[in-house]
Every structure is written in structure tokens, then in C-alpha cells.
Amino acid sequence: MNLEKVIFAFFSILALTLNFGFFIGEVDNPEHHNAYELFAALIVSLIATIMKFGDRAHIGALLLATSLVADLQLIAAAMVWGFTLYVVETGLTPSITSSIVSLSAGALLANLTSVLLLVVETVTFRR
């Protein structure tokens, strides 16, 4: 067992599960989507990205790319949220909520790809 691999997989999967936790619920109901969950998903996703830095293998580059996509989507979701609350001051209307959740859904897809790649790499790894 390789501790580095454990930590790496841990963060990748945690990013996916937290992301999923935020995403699940009615798409336009703000009651179903907690800001803390989005925060946790974003932080874990950022850490997962950094763990993928400096890997020269081809699959490593692919993992980094999917991770960056997830970060970008989650940051966009958080920014839309902050913008509606403090700049436009319209509050979380159903349309805004659904756009935040759909952005996080995009991140979910990226995180899913990331985990799938991880699984593929593990399966093809031969001793």
C-alpha cells in the first residue's frame, strides 16, 4: 500500500462526494443547497488539484486538467452566489439557484471523470 496513493485517491473521491452532496436536491430550491457544502467541495477540489501538480505521466496531465475544470466550475458557482447576494442584491431566486447548481453539476461531471481515470489507472496497473 502506498500512502501517497491513498491520500491522493482520498482527496479525489472526497471532492466528488462533497460536490455530489451539494448538487443533490431540487435544482431551484435554495433550501436544498448549503453554502458550507459548496465551500468544502471547493477547498477539497483545490487541494486535489495541487496533489496532481508535477506529474509527468500522460494520465497525470489528464487528471490535472479535469481537476482544473472542476475548480473553475465551483469558483464560478461561488462567484455567482456572492454576486447575487451582495452586488445585485436580488437574493437567491429559483433561476439563480438553478444556475449555481448547474455549474456545480458541471464540476461534478469533471470530478467523476477524474475518479474514473483514477480507477482506470489502478486497473491497468500491473505488478
Partner: protein
């Protein structure tokens, strides 16, 4: 560059994770602790304000308590955040600084910037492996002749030396093992402008490895190697090393030449001497018995050659067993009077101090001179940094392996015909050499002549080539007069014309040139410049041939053409 980025990212993993974690925990804490707003109602900071507050707190230690004055619980958390943020920033910045100073990182950085410089190079260049005395002189001389070079040496100090050297243009240097093919490739082994590889590392194994790598990866490139032993030389020759240079052998053959034809040697010395050196004087070593101190590679080569000239030698060697010295050799260093006397210094005509220690060589010289002031002295100088002392010692011939190697390689590069010329010249008599000496001395003043090659080819001499193709006749004389005043002779002497299988030694001025001729000249630098102008300029050549200064513009040509 890719490698550098990967290294940087890899090393920055932990500091970045620490930084993000500290910020995340701080922001989370800020949003969880209950505060009080202006009206005294309980209030919780939201994510937006928490990120804003922690961001300026982490980088500047605060602008104030926003949006409302903090409670004590919030202040306690803020205190924690201040320390945590400062420590994590220090850690992150510290790791970047450590990384920049890291040897491995610097090497990657140096390697990358060296490879980039070489890759962008547009001028023809030579790769020089090893930067000792010989390489230093060679790089300097090449740059005086506007030829670029790149240097690889294992020793970082030497590359630093190269960087502070005052050269007319930048010579990239890399501290890397030259036996490593990556280093050679980065130095431009496969670059279209690379003209050759020169191995001067002072270590036969390294030179051998360089030669093998070059011949395998770039078979068409000429390879010039210095070799210290015959075994290594034979090995290098076996896989097609183009030129193998043994400075001791070269020197010994010159010394022999000085015995049988001192004037020819003088010519040789002049035309191979370094740029702008003063003209050396005529020296003729006396025959008779010579005392030879040191029977290493140098001593063996010298003894072999001068014995062939009928010179008797008496040997002095400190370690007669290991060097395989003959039985009549006297054991000792030669620095003491009694060994020298035993070797018969009082009746000898010359002394050769050829050990590998400069101090001992000077000591031998001084002791020997005390015993017999009339001696002809030959001293080996191993290190260039002792120039001053050796020059002050008033020695007849100073043998510097570095200088000999550098000169030899330089003439191979600048005037490849020189070898042919010298081979032919060595068959000529002393009188022929005497005539040549006076002709060369007539054109150069008191500094050594330049030697240059001229090819009558469409690229190198377009004007001459076009004329010859049209069927006009061009004499050698036309290349040796001033392109602005054809009555004025240029200060140069044509030494050799090589065409197909024919070689014309000291060709007369009336010789007709053919397309494809290679001509070797020696003379003053300005003659080289003027002759290069003539061969490239149709107008100048037309004027020289006919004496008519033809107008060059179409309009003028039409106006004058009645």
C-alpha cells in the same frame, strides 16, 4: 523549460496545500463564530465577508473589524488566524526561495537556458568539451576570427571562468559531464550550424567517450580529439576520429625540424602562431649531447625524434622503474647539481627540462645554467598561469602543451590546406625555406602573418566563379592587388593552390585560376579583407582585370555606353 516547471510544481505541492488549508479553516471559523451587530442582535459572518476579512488579514494583518466590531470570541479566532497565516506564508515563500537556490534546480535552469541559447544560434559554431588551458586559448582565438563556440566542462568553476572572460561575443558554457550524450545534444550536436566537436578535456576516457558519441549521433561532423597516450589515439582513430592531437608528439616533431631545417620551422612557427603575436626569432639548436630530464610522455616523444636527428641524449628520471627508462638513465629529479653533473651537463650543448612539475622544470633550468651558462634551453611549461615567470627566465624554447594544441586545432579549422602545405614544404630544402622566410618577412612587418583559405566556389567567391564560368581568364595576381588601386600589391603571399589532384607549391602570380581551386594565403589581415572583397564584388574584379572602373548603376552604364 518543461522540466523546470514540473520540478517547481512538484516542490510547491505541500506549501500550497498548507496555505489553502489554513485559509479554509480560518474562513470556516469566521463564518461559524457568532458576533453581534450594531443593534446588539446575534449575527454570523457570511462567506463573502469571511473571505474578504481573512484575505486582507493574511497578507497585511488587518484593516479593522468589518462589518461590525468583533466580539471577544471572534478576536480570539482572529489572533489564531494571524499567526497561522503568517507562518504558512513564510513557509510557502521559504520553500520557493530554497527551491531557487537548490543545486539540482539551478542545474536544470542552467541546462535549459544553455540549450535554448544554442538552439537559437544562427552562426556556425564548434562544440568544445573541456575548458583547460588549450580550450581557453582556442575559444579566444576562434572568437578573434569571428567563429563561435560552445563549451561543456564538468567543472563548474571553469564555466564561471569562461563567463568572466572578456570575449568579443557571448560563448555559452555548461557545467555538465561531456560523456553524457544529453549534454552534447544540448550543446548542439545535431544543430544545423554545428561545424565540429573538439574534445580537450585532458582525460583520454572522456575524450574517447565524446568522440564515440559524436561519431554515432552525428557521423558527418568532424571530431578533433586531444590524446595523451598512443593507446587512446589508436582507439580514437579506430572509429573515425578525424584529427587526433598529441601536443608532445607535435612538439617533438617540431624540435626535430629545428635541428634539420631551422628556417622551415621558422616559417611554420610564423604561419601557425596566434593572432597578433610578435614574430619569433630564428633559433637553431646545436647538435651534440643533450641532457633530457623527465622520461614521461613528453620525454619519450622528444627522445625518439631527436635521436633520429643524430642528437645524443643523457636521461635523468626520478622514477626509472615506472617510466621504463633505459638502463643508463640517471636516477634523480635533475633539480640537484650532482645528478646534472653525473649526466654530463658540463659538456652538454642543451638541456630539456620536461617533467610534469613547472617548479621542478624551472629549478632544473637554473641549476643547469649555473653549471654551464652556454646551454641551449628547452623547458616544458604545464600551466598557462605561470607565463610571467617562464618569460622572465630567458628560455630559448618554451613548450606549452595547451598553446600547441590550440594552435594546431586553429590551423585545422582556419586553414585546412596548411597541413598539405607543410607536408610539401618539408620535402623542400633549407634554401627554399630561406627564400620563403624573406618573402613572408617582406609582407608582414613585426607581427605574425594571418593564414587563410580561399575556395573558388559559387558561394565563397561568386565574382571570380562567374568570370571563370563565362570563360574569362583570372590570374592569381588579380587576387593579390588592391581592389581600389590595382598598381598596389596586397601584403600577402600565396602559399599553395590545390586543384583536383594537383598541388602547386608557392604558385607564381601568372598562374591561371580554375573553378574549384583551393588557395592558401598568408599575409597581413588587411590583405585578407581586401582579397575577400575582390572575390565577392564583380565591379572590383572587373576593374582589377581591365583597369576600367565600370559604372555600376544601369543609368550610368547607359549614359557612358555610346
Amino acid at each position: 523549460m518543461k522540466k523546470v516547471i514540473y520540478l517547481l510544481l512538484r516542490r510547491m505541492r505541500l506549501p500550497l496545500i498548507v496555505l489553502i488549508s489554513v485559509y479554509a479553516i480560518s474562513i470556516l471559523g469566521m463564518t461559524l463564530i457568532t458576533g453581534v451587530d450594531e443593534q446588539g442582535n446575534p449575527w454570523r459572518m457570511d462567506f463573502f465577508h469571511a473571505i474578504y476579512f481573512v484575505s486582507f488579514l493574511g497578507s497585511t494583518i488587518g484593516l479593522g473589524e468589518v462589518p461590525y466590531a468583533f466580539t471577544d470570541a471572534q478576536r480570539m479566532w482572529t489572533t489564531f488566524v494571524i499567526y497561522a497565516a503568517v507562518v504558512s506564508w513564510l513557509y510557502a515563500i521559504g520553500s520557493i526561495l530554497t527551491l531557487i537556490q537548490d543545486q539540482a534546480f539551478r542545474r536544470v535552469l542552467d541546462f535549459t537556458s544553455f540549450a535554448r541559447k544554442v538552439r537559437r544560434s544562427q552562426d556556425p559554431f564548434y562544440i568544445i568539451c573541456g575548458y583547460g588551458d588549450a580550450a581557453r586559448q582556442l575559444v579566444r582565438e576562434l572568437s578573434e576570427h569571428f567563429i563561435h563556440s560552445v563549451v561543456i566542462d564538468r567543472d563548474r568553476e571553469k564555466i564561471l571562468d569562461l563567463q568572466v572572460e572578456d570575449l568579443p561575443f557571448h560563448v555559452p558554457g555548461l557545467s555538465e559531464d561531456a560523456t553524457d550524450s544529453d549534454g552534447l545534444l544540448a550543446a548542439g550536436l545535431k544543430h544545423p550550424c554545428c561545424r565540429g566537436v573538439i574534445a580537450l578535456s585532458g582525460d583520454d576516457d572522456v575524450n574517447l567517450a565524446v568522440a564515440i558519441t559524436s561519431k554515432l549521433l552525428a557521423p558527418e561532423l568532424p571530431v578533433i580529439c586531444q590524446s595523451d597516450s598512443r593507446d587512446a589515439a589508436a582507439n580514437m582513430a579506430s572509429f573515425g576520429t578525424d584529427h587526433i592531437i598529441d601536443p608532445f608528439d607535435i612538439f617533438a616533431s617540431h624540435l626535430a625540424m629545428m635541428f634539420h631545417s631551422p628556417r622551415l620551422h621558422l616559417v611554420y612557427e610564423w604561419i601557425t602562431a596566434v593572432h597578433d603575436a610578435p614574430l619569433s626569432e630564428f633559433k637553431s639548436p646545436p647538435a651534440g649531447t643533450w641532457v633530457l630530464c623527465g622520461f614521461g610522455r613528453f620525454g619519450k616523444a622528444v627522445q625518439e625524434y631527436i635521436t633520429g636527428e643524430g642528437v645524443q641524449t643523457r636521461l635523468i628520471e626520478a622514477d626509472t622503474g615506472a617510466t621504463g627508462a633505459p638502463l643508463d638513465a640517471i636516477e634523480g629529479r635533475g633539480t640537484e647539481a650532482n645528478t646534472l653533473v653525473e649526466a654530463g651537463i658540463k659538456n652538454a650543448t642543451g638541456i630539456i627540462a620536461g617533467t610534469d612539475s613547472d617548479t621542478n622544470n624551472l629549478s632544473i633550468l637554473i641549476t643547469a645554467r649555473d653549471l654551464n651558462p652556454g646551454l641551449f634551453t628547452v623547458v616544458r611549461q604545464n600551466h598557462q598561469n605561470k607565463d610571467q615567470i617562464f618569460r622572465a627566465a630567458d628560455i630559448d624554447i618554451i613548450m606549452q602543451p595547451g598553446a600547441i594544441t590550440a594552435q594546431h586545432i586553429l590551423s585545422l579549422i582556419l586553414a585546412p590546406l596548411l597541413g598539405d602545405f607543410l607536408n610539401l614544404a618539408s620535402d623542400q630544402g633549407e634554401e627554399w625555406a630561406n627564400v620563403l622566410v624573406s618573402r613572408v618577412a617582406g609582407v608582414v612587418e613585426d607581427i605574425t602573418p594571418e593564414t587563410w583559405d580561399l575556395d573558388i566556389s559559387p558561394l565563397a567567391a561568386p565574382a571570380v566563379f562567374d568570370c571563370l564560368i563565362r570563360g574569362d581568364k583570372i590570374r592569381l595576381h588579380d587576387l593579390c592587388v588592391h581592389p581600389q588601386n590595382r598598381a598596389e600589391q596586397l601584403p600577402c603571399v600565396p602559399l599553395l593552390i590545390k586543384r583536383d589532384n594537383e598541388k602547386l607549391l608557392l604558385p607564381g602570380m601568372e598562374v591561371q585560376l580554375h573553378a574549384g581551386d583551393h588557395i592558401l594565403f598568408c599575409g597581413r589581415e588587411e590583405a585578407m579583407r581586401q582579397a575577400r572583397h575582390t572575390i565577392n564584388d564583380h565591379q572590383a574584379l572587373y576593374y582589377i582585370r581591365t583597369g576600367i572602373d565600370r559604372p555600376s548603376g544601369a543609368l550610368w552604364r547607359w549614359l557612358t555606353n555610346d
